[in-house]
Symmetry: C2
Subunit: 155 residues, 2 copies
Amino acid sequence: MSDDLTPRARRLRDAGHKLTHARLTVLAALEDSGGHITSSEVLERVNLVDHTIGRASVFRTLDLLTSLSIIRPTYLHSSMTPTYVLLPDGHHHHFICTRCNRVIEFDDCGLAQIETDLEARLHVKLTGHLLEFYGLCERCAAESTFTPSTTESAS
Amino acid sequence: MSDDLTPRARRLRDAGHKLTHARLTVLAALEDSGGHITSSEVLERVNLVDHTIGRASVFRTLDLLTSLSIIRPTYLHSSMTPTYVLLPDGHHHHFICTRCNRVIEFDDCGLAQIETDLEARLHVKLTGHLLEFYGLCERCAAESTFTPSTTESAS
DNA sequence: ATACCAATTGAGATATAGTATCAACAGGGT
DNA sequence: ACCCTGTTGATACTATATCTCAATTGGTAT
């Protein structure tokens, strides 16, 4: 019963999953990164630590962690690869500039009450949430004040 | 100036983009679907209407619409393909069961005040938001009350 | 209408991401 | 230590998205 596990590792085990080397390595890679990491980056980090871990296991672990609301895939950059965010307390919030892809994170969301209401209303058991705001960051908003595309001077 | 455009088409044009056949077709496909549609499904629908429209244009349009906060990619099923949701009034909210992937949508979110605060605090211009709740739906919650994995017959 | 120009397109080759398969292996309860 | 079952890793394979660039088209000025 060595309980020197990280909280997330414990959640994995408590949900009935084995704490395998591959899974713990993926989890460590995610935690080291601090979140906002793509699957390719996870693959890369995992490979540095132990190149015998297969790609399939990494993807399987990402899916597993997602189903446990430990991480959540989201789109930040291209429409190709998801970026995984850690959900420290089951939730995460950020702002994404849809022009330059800058991400601003923040903590408070004031959704506790809404969550409670929703559980009762939809008869569901919530494990977390992700709140994404998007728009233009300060700089991009200023730039698009001039002209939409190729900032041509209006004569 | 034929203004018999859909509101979303107008937003496209107002943002300085051309209303091309390809773009309008993709937009129509999205609107017909009602949202929660994968890129493959969009491709398929577009192809039915006009098979001369290239894949690249479909993806380009999806990215463009995303950058305008007209749609938003999100993960519902696998970690492979994003599912696009329409953002009718710039926002969207849903609950996703992390076990069976069922999606429950709902309208109210009470985030108007939070949005206003955030704009002032982060000095950004918000165009929309996506609020995802996840957890277990009623049925899945009931099932996992018994045994984690092999829960087949509830006697 | 017509002409013009830049934004946009389409085709498909290419790159990238994720999945399927299955024998071999290892976690963890007994 | 043993066993059972969940899990793994290798790789071939499929699915998905991007790149390139000549050709086209939307929209505006004429």
